[in-house]
Amino acid sequence: MKIELVLFASFTDYMPAHAGGNPWLMEVEAGKTVGFLIEQLHLPADRPKMIFVNGLRVKEDALLSEGDRAGIFPLVAGG
């Protein structure tokens, strides 16, 4: 299944070159979780993260479905 993926803030360094800094599509086997994406992208395991799937905040064990959009940030805030 295809997942639309985008990384933000300091995690943009972990985006594949072909993405050119934009959201990109990633082919993932059915039944995989957000944690799998994090491993595949080599995002630092010890950094606190904010993960949104289709605009909803989820944890790393959230299951992915065809066509999902996942956005992953390090923990950032402002205001």
Partner: protein, 578 residues
Amino acid sequence: MDKILRINMGAEGEPTVSETPPGDYAGLGGRALTSALISKEVPATCHALSAHNKLVIAPGLLSGTIAAMSGRLSIGCKSPLTGGIKESNAGGQASQVLARLGYAAIVLEGKPTDDTLYTIFIDKDGVKIGSDNTLKMLGNYDLVEKMKGEFGAKITCISIGPAGEMKMSAASIAITDMEQRPTRHAGRGGVGAVMGSKGVKAIVLDDAGMKMRQPKDPEKFRAANKEWVAGLKKHPVTGEGLPAFGTNVLTNVINEAGGYPTRNFAKGRFEGAAKISGETQAEMETARGGLATHGCHRGCVIRCSGTFNDKDGNYLTKQVEYETVWSHGGNCEIDDLDAIAMMDRLDDDYGIDTIEMGAAIGVAMEGGLIQFGDAEGAIDLVKEVGKGTPLGRILGNGAAVTGKAFGVERVPVVKNQALPAYDPRAVQGIGVTYATTPMGADHTAGYAVATNIMGVGGSVDPLAPAGQVELSRNLQIATAAIDSIGMCLFIAFAILDQPETFQAMIDMFSAFYGVEFTGDDVTELGKAVLKNERAFNAAAGLSAEHDRLPDFFKNEALPPHNVTFGVEDKDLDTLFNW
């Protein structure tokens, strides 16, 4: 900080100066002092621009010390925008300098009978009041240069631009930063109009010859400050995200969460968000020779600011803050950072609240004055405000007045003050704060976004009403205390997550004043501030019916989550039951 400076601007002949001990206000600082004084001394039903109103400028309780992050200044008065009490809070150098000069507060009272424009200069030798009508309608940037020429290169300025002189309800008070640029503003609620009504163009401070305020227990104070700084440095928000990308790091976050108010609160996502994000902005700033990391006052260790240069590499404005990028950007469907930065520069120069200004432009776009997305048209509207044309005076009085002038139904205000950059349907906790804070819609009064969106200080579902009132209540109490101590609100991210950092702040306070301050005392301080503010508002005629969001937030579903604001009125009314 053992004296209060009162200046009667309405005294016969010329303004008179008196210095008194704090008296009833002993032990208070920042917002606790401004709100106590306003609620005690200002008749709640007076006109905000009348001689009966007072403008109170108070450093926080730890300002002027070596405590990191302690440079926040509170400015209080009856608000010409909301009709209720106002505490508008700013960074910059003034809080530290004023505290070192020994003042717990400056109070401007009365009102001149003619249109003379005054400057007030304060240094170690005392207070000098001058009049100078050549300063009329000068922008804050030129004004500061003139003041430097007159009073020396190392001054700190608290000033108003043309908007304050014209007594617009969205007028701000500018505070200079470390480079003496008038970039930090007490923006909200029209405090600049009240300063304008007192006939004061600038308060100029020079703390040469004054020392840091000394703690009662220096050793304990130093140790607590060290732990405090370490705590701020180790938290990812205050140690990494804010220094690297500034507050505008939130554009992508809130947009991804579907709560980014777009097209005057019609949608929760903006297609152009990536073009105006903090990531893009930091890259642009660095490429143009600006700075992506910069502190607004000495003693800041978070350093969330920066400098924004134009395309030719010349300084234009400070790193534009998230709320401003939103109000002039996504809210107006403008995706051009250069245009947004130009509006930020103009807002700072005219002395006008960037949130209120952007919201007013969004409402004017809804009313058909110009098209959404028209960046040049939006810049021209800001210039109308600076010129004081009839159109500019409508816009400069904020979103509510603009909505009436153009017959617009979707006007995002509470108590006439414009909502900031989080849609309350998709971030319901902040909606509770907007509705109930005594300040009118204000995200900083109880920043539930942290818990709703970032999971800082726990986790509460942003799309559902459950738990939001309790969350907002606790944050509003804590914030009122933080605003009184003089700490930058961004410390909240670290103290909500790290008990040892919260304790370090309490230890610093205890060591400075030689008292045994506890977490419970912080809570009691916050409650006392809110009690004063609520009492003033009740006497001014603001009731439970004013603690509400506009109807459209209950009636129009916000995409992409297609959700309405679900917290019931009866639950909002329990917020201050503690």
